[in-house]
Symmetry: C2
DNA sequence: ATACACGGTTACCGCAACGAAACCGGGGGC
DNA sequence: GCCCCCGGTTTCGTTGCGGTAACCGTGTAT
């Protein structure tokens, strides 16, 4: 259920969950509970915060339907969709370079251990 | 002395100063004090942290010269240089879309005020 | 003796992000 | 009466990023 390896490293778009939301909405609107289920462990509080921030910035729209049980749909705006290309570049870069970063980390860790020992 | 408008909004590469360092190093190695002067208000502590993290991830190298006064040069590795393209995309996206984001924020703020009043 | 240059380190602190757990209201089903 | 659904809210606590201010060692210049 990984959206992109970018979650593991120093390159990030927006805050922790924004990119994930963009990915989940890129093929059409979805509702709160669907998003919640499809994202790793997000608490409703944090998901609400993320969605409200994105709405405020014009990345998505929030639509309430007068139904029982309640239904609320989140849908990317054009601005939100425009993030996809950027996200693609980021993911591509990460897929190419994450191994190098991890190798560098391992090498530096070893050097540190050698110095400490 | 702005590197890219990305500092003002929810799209960011790495932590607060990483992109800036990449920009300052893209045309060759520089030393600690030079970086410090050219970046907005960075404290030495935070700059050290940023540089150490980037070094650990293989983005740049740190070279000490045995001179008086001390000289230390930071230089991008190939991995560090590969960030430039990503940075360019991010800056381009931001330049194109920041006005839209700001417009959305203003619109939402007005709506909030109207509701509160 | 004092000050300055370089490249930092150390101790402390505030804020925002993130998370865990409980709770809410309006309805429906058993 | 009880629990479930949905879409949240509320409270509390933790973590981590970033910032402030002071200090450090080594050497050189005045």
């Amino acid at each position: 259920m990984e959206i992109c390896p970018s979650n593991a490293l120093p390159v990030r778009i927006g805050d922790k969950w924004t990119a994930w939301v963009v990915r989940l909405l890129e093929h059409g609107p979805r509702r709160f509970t669907e998003l919640r289920k499809d994202m790793g462990r997000v608490t409703p509080k944090v998901l609400t915060e993320t969605l409200r921030a994105m709405e405020r910035d014009g990345m998505l729209t929030r639509t309430e339907f007068d139904e029982i049980p309640p239904r609320v749909e989140y849908e990317l705006t054009e601005l939100g969709h425009s993030l996809r290309a950027l996200l693609d570049h980021t993911c591509a870069w990460t897929r190419e370079n994450l191994p190098l970063i991890e190798a560098a980390r391992r090498a530096n860790d070893e050097a540190d251990h050698a110095r400490t020992a």
